[in-house]
């Protein structure tokens, strides 16, 4: 059914189909950065960090402020100024968000590590509301908007399908981050420590791994990715508001679950699929449900995966069940 619907849309208007797919891919790569944060933290603590989406939106708000106030960038600024400004705000957003996420863990979750499973989960929901209100306090209830810094003119086009600069930049910035993350987790000492801690914290501690520091590092890493995603979101959509992180966080979490939570490649795959589903639903002309129903579709998908295939697309079935 779904494949048929996509096929008919493809045949009716191939140019539109692929343009929408590019948008989906762009959104998907922003989701991927957020989803990786959920998956990293879940992998090591088995905790759904509800506050993660709000770390993302605070990172985005801060980078928007840096772009607006520190660099005073507009669409008319020179290319060099834009590149420098975006790079600096990327660094600031990443540093701020990792610090914030680590603090959240330190204040909120560390004391509850041996508490019943629901305790840290409920705390995470509370943390999310606190962070949202921090955003509300400093940035107010309105959208913070920047100029469209990266022109949405076509960089190049293949067969009538335009690849716009802003989409391209987002995808080009995401890819190295993902590769760096994979390298970090699979090939460094710190990554080995993370994997060991996620398998068995006690055994890891006995092998001389500093479990607390490893967990803090994981949160810092996840926060950094969320901060980067915040900046990319601002570049792509030019507006951000204090309460957007929660929604986006849920969508990204769905992506992480779709791919198989705890699985890095799965999170990216899930995020791209969710991004495409969203874009197709909102962008295609022929019999699409439209943006009014996007959330219902995404959450309906989430429920369906959890009920029918809780281990996700790439996850492994565990004996205790997911």
């Amino acid at each position: 059914m779904l494949a048929l619907w996509l096929l008919i849309n493809l045949v009716k208007d191939p140019t539109e189909f692929f343009s929408v797919a590019v948008i989906g891919l762009t959104n998907g790569s922003v989701y991927a950065l957020i989803a990786l944060g959920y998956t990293l933290v879940y992998g090591i603590l088995q905790l759904i960090n509800f506050a993660h989406g709000d770390v993302f939106s605070l990172g985005g708000l801060l980078s928007a402020t840096v772009i607006l106030d520190a660099f005073d960038l507009t669409a008319a600024s020179s290319a060099v100024a834009i590149v420098i400004g975006v790079a600096v705000s990327l660094l600031i957003a990443v540093a701020f968000s990792s610090a914030l996420n680590t603090t959240v863990e330190l204040v909120g979750y560390r004391r509850l590590r041996n508490a019943p499973r629901l305790a840290p989960l409920i705390t995470a929901v509370g943390m999310s509301f606190i962070l949202q209100n921090v955003g509300l306090y400093f940035w107010g209830p309105n959208y913070t908007s920047t100029d469209n810094l990266i022109p949405n003119s076509a960089a190049f086009s293949i067969g009538g399908v335009d690849f716009q600069w802003d989409n391209l930049v987002v995808i080009l910035l995401t890819m190295p981050l993902l590769l760096a993350l994979t390298w970090l987790v699979t090939s460094t000492r710190q990554g080995k420590a993370m994997r060991a801690t996620s398998q068995d914290p006690e055994a890891a501690a006995m092998m001389g791994i500093n479990v607390n520091r490893t967990i803090s590092f994981t949160f810092a890493l996840a926060g950094g990715l969320a901060g980067a995603a915040g900046l990319l979101y601002v570049l792509q959509f030019t507006t951000i508001r204090f309460d957007q992180g929660f929604q986006l966080g849920l969508i990204a979490f769905t992506a992480a679950v779709l791919g198989g939570i705890g699985n890095l490649a799965g999170a990216v795959l899930g995020a791209v699929i969710i991004g495409l589903i969203e874009a197709f639903n909102e962008g295609l002309e022929w019999h699409a449900a439209g943006s009014d129903w996007t959330r219902s579709i995404v959450f309906g998908l989430l429920i369906a995966i959890l009920v029918f295939r809780p281990e996700g697309l790439l996850g492994e079935r565990t004996p205790e069940g997911a």
Binding site: T123, S128, L306, P310
Partner: protein, 405 residues
């Protein structure tokens, strides 16, 4: 002075056991029933009767959620779905929404020829509660197999989907189910009709009565008492003990022969029942079901009441529900204006309401996880550790069955 107190204590001890046990609840109940009549003499910080009605309704919801979260230990982050379901059943069965049909059954205060379904609100309240129970079972059956945090996410998903369906539900192939973002309004008035008014003096219609707030207050209080009664009786029943067993250790409970799925589904159904009942009554009170009321935040707001009071503790959840709903409706605004006066600059406290609730949740989880008034069984565990002999001996002494928590 001290001798007077001593004789009083002695006299008190000599009173029959029943009197000692029931004196305090009876006094609280009396004060609660009479509240609308002495409220005028209290200082301004006390809630208005209209606010008190909402406080009571929200507390009913908190007690319903307490059955799911507190008793059975299943984290439900989508309780707002049940509230919405109850409110919309009330709106469907007692308004002009379905103008294609004209059906009247015991409705009051409207002409017989008015199109739409108009059923007596008393029946509607029961119907809404039962419908929501069915929704709860339908949501529960496929999802309750999931482990704790996954279940939380699924309920959250339902809590997001239901409001969106409600908001977009004004055009299902041309059929207007929910009237979209406008909501359904007005809902018929609750009351006893003219016949009962003439013979027994019961109020004919609440909405048109001069004592509107008082009537709603007393009815809401009756609903709360019913809910408290059910909560306490259920907790001490076979089913309630099975819930608590599942909460404490699912595997052990299953090994002891507790049927997990059926027991969990019952807790969901019970929680949904009260959510639907309270939701329908609230919609009747406001005379409308509006989709802007149904947001994820509301689920967390109700959850915060349960956590603040103490998960599983009936009296704690009542206090938590009353305190938080008071803060939400009047308290934070009053705190804000007080703080603005003292600090001499405007501080908009209600704007940060959910920051306050979030802070309450985190603080409670970190420093007092069992809540303000902990459930007795829970308190023993927290103080002594789960494996300690104190719990075992307390439970052997029958304490676990007839706890006050």
């Amino acid at each position: 002075m001290s001798t007077a107190r001593a004789t009083f204590t002695e006299r008190w001890r000599q009173l029959p056991d029943v009197v000692q046990r029931l004196a305090l609840p009876a006094l609280v109940l009396l004060l609660a029933i009479l509240y609308p009549w002495y409220f005028g003499g209290l200082p301004g910080a006390f809630p208005a009767v209209e606010t008190a009605v909402i406080m009571l309704i929200f507390t009913v919801m908190a007690l319903g959620l307490n059955v799911v979260v507190g008793y059975a230990g299943l984290l439900d982050l989508g309780y707002v779905a049940f509230y919405a379901a109850g409110a919309y059943v009330a709106a469907w069965l007692a308004s002009v929404q379905f103008e294609q049909v004209t059906f009247h059954l015991g409705s009051i205060g409207i002409v017989d020829t008015l199109p739409g379904i108009h059923i007596s609100i008393w029946i509607v309240l029961v119907a809404a509660a039962l419908f929501t129970t069915i929704v709860g079972v339908l949501i529960g059956l496929p999802t309750l197999r999931l482990r704790g945090d996954y279940l939380a996410i699924v309920t959250l998903g339902f809590g997001e989907i239901v409001p969106q369906v409600v908001r977009n539900g004004d055009d299902f192939g041309g059929f207007d189910l929910t009237h979209g973002t406008f909501g359904i309004s007005p809902i018929d008035s609750i009351g006893f009709g003219n016949t009962l008014n003439d013979t027994l003096g019961l109020p004919a219609s609440y909405q048109t009565s001069t004592n509107r707030a008082e009537l709603f207050y007393l009815t809401a209080l009756a609903l709360l008492l019913f809910t408290v009664f059910c909560s306490v009786r259920l907790r001490d029943s076979r089913l309630g003990r099975a819930w608590i067993a599942i909460r404490e250790d699912e595997t052990a409970a299953a090994a002891m022969g507790v049927p997990l799925m059926r027991t969990k589904t019952w807790s969901y159904a019970t929680g949904a029942f009260f959510g639907g009942l309270a939701g329908a009554f609230y919609a009747v009170f406001k005379s409308g079901a509006f989709p802007s009321d149904f947001f994820f935040n509301f689920s967390i707001f109700i959850l915060c009441m349960v956590i603040l009071g103490g998960m599983g503790s009936v009296w704690g959840v009542i206090v938590g529900g009353l305190v938080l709903s008071y803060l939400d409706r009047e308290g934070l605004a009053k705190v804000g204006s007080f703080a603005s006066d003292v600090l001499n600059r405007p501080i908009d406290v209600p704007k940060y309401a959910f920051g306050v609730y979030g802070a309450i949740i985190v603080a409670m989880m970190l420093f007092r996880p069992a809540g303000m008034i902990p459930e007795k069984r829970h308190r023993l565990e927290i103080d002594e550790g789960v494996e300690s002999a104190a719990v075992a001996s307390a439970e052997q002494g029958g304490d676990g069955r007839r706890g006050d928590g």
